[in-house]
């Protein structure tokens, strides 16, 4: 019993470390330290758990821990940077499997009271859903499964059916805690749910799904904790569960999606539509754009008529100063016809007291465009339209433009997708490296400025 007290006191400390770790993980400056703290907590918890007096044989435990560690180390070292999200989903699946296995083990180890049985079956279901769902997500991310939403007719009905069946068999199991059959049926059903729920979600939404499944695996741990009366499992599980939900929500917002919308893809009517989209517009919020700005070393500002309309020049000057303080180089690329009168941009930028040295002509910036980390287009449209270069037959074909599209990242700030003075569409907005920040130029820039100050 003394041992138990010791273990639990260490658990309290481990829980505190987890909490600290998570807190630090939320801040770029301390994230790494946070991760290490949380790793330390895990290590301590594992070691102290091994001192549990109920443990009679260590052999298999050690073998599986060593094997697991080896696999973990190998996979995580070998993976390419680009493969990380897939790997995370794979780990998540494995974690779900572990939870499920724990639940089954508890179920087969002894006859359970109905309370514990219901908690265990919950852990089992969540673990299984996490497992199969994560595997599908992994498949989609690594393109083993088509990234497109996979939908079929009547799927909503099928899904409802699955859920009903799962509830039914779970209840049956709780009533007959000794029945292996019900356990197996529940497992199969839960695995199916995991597959069915993730399949109809598009590849682009996968990070959200993984985050949610991750939150689920926390809940599974939490449920296991209840079943085994293990405080640390409850605390750590609840932390992961709750923070996962919040994180999922934040990620949805950043992607301009609603959580409900993502989750219920499998429960929606199938709509087939045949509209050909020329490309995809990738909107981004000013808040998220900030992180790119923070990391950039050289930035080209391309102002246009919209900057004048929004009177965003003062805000831009402030952003420029902040970027410069952040050791980035900022220059302005002034297209000769930007605005609505010759020298329009000059008037504005002089008003904001932008140094003349920073104003470069089109011919000066175009040759070095590839070297800019960011080209930020502020309310300009025609003057950065690659159609003038590429699209013979366009009304502006042949007009020299600033080749913003050749910069590493392009941010376009404007209020809508509407066209500029010349009234022609702008393929720049659909390019891969372009992100649209919709909104009034002044407000958007002020927003980014605010991020710098936070």
């Amino acid at each position: 019993m003394d041992n138990l007290i010791l273990i639990n006191i260490v658990y309290v400390i481990a829980a505190a470390l987890f909490i600290f770790g998570l807190k630090l993980l939320g801040n770029p400056a301390t994230a790494r330290k946070g991760n290490m703290l949380s790793g330390l907590a895990m290590l301590v918890a594992i070691i102290v758990t091994l001192m549990d007096q109920n443990i009679v044989s260590y052999g298999w435990i050690m073998v599986s821990i060593l094997a697991g560690s080896a696999v973990g180390v190998y996979v995580s070292k070998k993976v390419e940077m680009t493969g990380m999200p897939e790997l995370v989903s794979l780990f998540n699946g494995v974690g779900g499997l572990a939870s499920a296995a724990v639940a089954i083990a508890a179920m087969v180890a002894s006859e359970l009271s109905s309370g514990i049985a219901s908690i265990s079956v919950i852990a089992l279901i969540i673990g299984s859903v996490t497992f199969s769902g994560s595997l599908v997500a992994w498949g989609k991310l690594s393109e083993r499964v088509s990234g497109k939403p996979i939908v079929f007719n009547q799927q909503a009905i099928a899904n409802y059916g699955l859920i009903a069946a799962t509830i039914l068999f779970s209840s049956l199991y709780v009533l007959n805690p000794s029945s292996l059959f019900f356990i197996v049926v529940v497992i199969v059903l839960a695995l199916a749910i995991g597959v069915m729920v993730v399949l109809p979600i598009g590849g682009a939404d996968m990070p959200v799904v993984i985050s949610l499944l991750n939150s689920y695996s926390g809940l599974a741990a939490c449920a296991a904790g209840f079943a085994l009366e293990n405080n640390l499992l409850i605390v750590a599980g609840a932390l992961v569960g709750a923070s996962g939900i919040i994180l999922t929500n934040i990620m949805c917002k950043a992607m301009n999606r609603s959580l409900i919308n993502v989750l219920t893809s499998g429960f929606q009517e199938v709509v087939t539509n045949e509209i050909v989209v020329e490309g995809e517009i990738k909107p981004i919020s000013a808040e998220d754009a900030f992180y790119v700005f923070e990391a950039a070393q050289s930035i080209l500002v391309i102002p246009g008529y919209g900057m004048a309309v929004a009177q965003a020049q003062h805000a831009m000057k402030e952003l420029q100063e902040l970027l410069e303080k952040n050791d980035a180089e900022v220059v302005y690329g002034i297209h000769p016809v930007a605005g609505r009168m010759p020298g329009h941009m000059n008037v504005l930028l002089a008003e904001a007291d932008v140094s003349y040295d920073l104003l470069l002509e089109m011919d000066e910036v175009n040759p070095r465009m590839e070297n800019f980390d960011i080209a930020i287009v502020i309310g300009a449209n025609d003057v950065v339209n690659p159609a003038a270069r590429e699209l013979e037959g366009s009304p502006i074909y042949g007009m020299p433009v600033i080749n913003a599209d050749l910069a590493k990242n392009v941010f376009v700030i404007k209020r809508s997708m509407s066209s500029g003075f010349a009234g022609v569409d702008n393929p720049l907005f659909f390019k891969d490296n372009t992100r649209m920040i919709f909104g009034d130029a002044k407000e958007v820039i002020n927003n980014i400025v605010r991020q710098f100050n936070d």
Binding site: I55, M84, A105, I234, L239
Partner: protein, 91 residues
């Protein structure tokens, strides 16, 4: 009564989880998810106890599987997270 304590603990932990992840920058979304995923490998504790108990071969086997899986999750999770975070280091 123990259930009550557990309930208290659950309630507090959930609140704390919400409070902690209030305003994370987008760059941290993936590492944070990955870090949290590693933490969710905490089931390893339960797995260890179950694998070590002697309550039937089935339970032990399942326990050992669980320990293996959870270890992969924990070890791999922390290392991957660390790798991601290492990239952020300020110039």
């Amino acid at each position: 009564m123990i259930a009550i304590y557990l309930l208290f603990i659950l309630m507090l932990a959930i609140f704390l989880g919400f409070e902690l992840i209030q305003k994370v920058p987008a760059t941290l979304h993936t590492p944070l998810m990955s870090g949290a995923n590693a933490i969710s490998g905490i089931t390893i504790l339960a797995a260890i106890v179950l694998a070590g108990n002697d309550s039937g071969t089935a339970a032990t086997v399942l326990g050992v599987i669980a320990v293996f899986c959870a270890t992969v999750n924990v070890v791999g999770g922390y290392l991957v997270t660390d790798r991601m975070l290492a990239m952020f280091k300020k110039k």
